[in-house]
Symmetry: C2
């Protein structure tokens, strides 16, 4: 029987790294606030504001993004179902970027106090949160490499590989593909291309038989080919649970 908890995907994701005890999972579930629905393109947290909790995406699709004064926009990260923004958000007085939904989404909030409580009581949860932020940073580095060095085709392919694998890790992908409720112009802001060029790049990926993207979903026709084209190496996602040091006592920063 599947875990009925609203934040079960978060738990599932965290378990990619740490085995969590029953009481830890329960505590996490109980800490989660009610799920609130958002429409597409609503802001969860705006640049300049202060976070008072950690948002967990239950379903849907959200992103971090930054805008230049003249309107140019760069999306700097995706939040997929099961993702949470990192546990340190409320150390910063003001956000330096905005978090918004891209598609209709449900979001639960772990209040500030709950995080404090959880991390005080459950070192393994603390470690899992750490892992989460480390993976997020590794993803950010990959995006920088992609946008800096990869061609348009490779760039889009790499993004698709990443999204596909990340969704797989929470059970939201099939061998045929996954959801990707993002418009081409949002894709453009993600991979730093123009909308028109994204359109042509998608056409090319379709033509060579690797993937096709309908309005809201990604069909993977040849993952091996896609992966080769993108030079995608999933190890940076640390999904095996073996990318990290498991020894509990290894680091004081982990011990609340």
């Amino acid at each position: 029987m599947p875990d009925p908890s609203l934040i079960r995907l978060l738990i599932r994701k965290l378990e990619n790294f740490a085995e969590l005890a029953e009481d830890e999972k329960r505590a996490l579930q109980e800490a989660a606030g009610p799920v609130r629905p958002y429409a597409a393109h609503e802001d969860l947290l705006r640049e300049g504001e202060q976070a008072n909790g950690v948002a967990v995406v239950v379903s849907g699709f959200a992103c971090r993004h930054k805008m230049l004064p003249d309107g140019r926009r760069q999306i700097i990260g995706y939040f997929l179902p099961g993702d949470m923004c990192d546990a340190r958000v409320f150390i910063l007085k003001k956000m330096d970027h905005t978090i918004s939904t891209l598609a209709p989404s449900s979001v639960s909030v772990l209040p500030r106090e709950a995080i404090i409580e959880l991390t005080s009581k459950y070192p393994r949860l603390t470690r899992a949160f750490w892992w989460n932020t480390l993976v997020e940073e590794a993803i950010g580095r990959q995006w920088l490499v992609s946008i800096g060095q990869r061609t348009a085709l490779e760039r889009v392919a790499h993004l698709f590989c990443e999204v596909y694998v990340r969704l797989q890790s929470v059970g939201l992908a099939t061998p045929e593909g996954c959801e990707l409720p993002v418009t081409q112009s949002e894709l453009a802001d993600t991979v730093a291309l123009s909308t028109v060029h994204v359109n042509r790049t998608l056409k090319e990926l379709r033509r060579v038989g690797l993937v096709s993207m309908s309005s809201k979903a990604l069909s993977i026709h040849d993952f091996a080919g896609l992966r080769a084209l993108a030079m995608f190496d999933p190890s940076y996602l640390h999904l095996e649970g073996d990318g990290l040091i498991r020894d509990r006592a290894s680091h004081a920063l982990l011990k609340p």
Copy 2:
């Protein structure tokens, strides 16, 4: 009389955020291993390896970078004097990128155990380390925006602004400029342009009277102009010490 400690720049930088007590500074100084000199283009820590301590750049210039299988390279961050790689490096079993010097540098290492000890004993140091990683991440986001959205001219200008302000914060800049011991081809790998185009961009920046770059130094002729061109807003560097929540008890993750 100036602080003679080898890692005084790190302390100076951390004090941009947290006032450190004398015993905290002393403990930090005593924890630092001997300073080891490196030539330019030596690796401090290679992709795939595991870190066993935190490197602190005492003098010189280093960077994080990643290479694609076919040789294309992207520099994903600079380490300036006083910078340390983040305190969590040794949670990861393997580095997902390489850290190398760009110029001859001296590097001291805070051994793993010292970090554990320091963060257990001195919450304020722990907070300062946190702040360090948060700023590093904010810088990474800015680089993504730069490379994704800014033109060549803006991109180089923004990088120069950032380096200049960061060096200022540890007292290594004058009103006239600062050191920048980086070749044009390394600059190219940083801002994701070709070497030739970096050269032309520098020429243009010189022509319009904003900055000029000799082999190893940056002369700032018009910082206000440079800043306007780059749309540079230094607040993401959180150097005022007011970008963060200072309340000591606010977050369990901070209490070792």
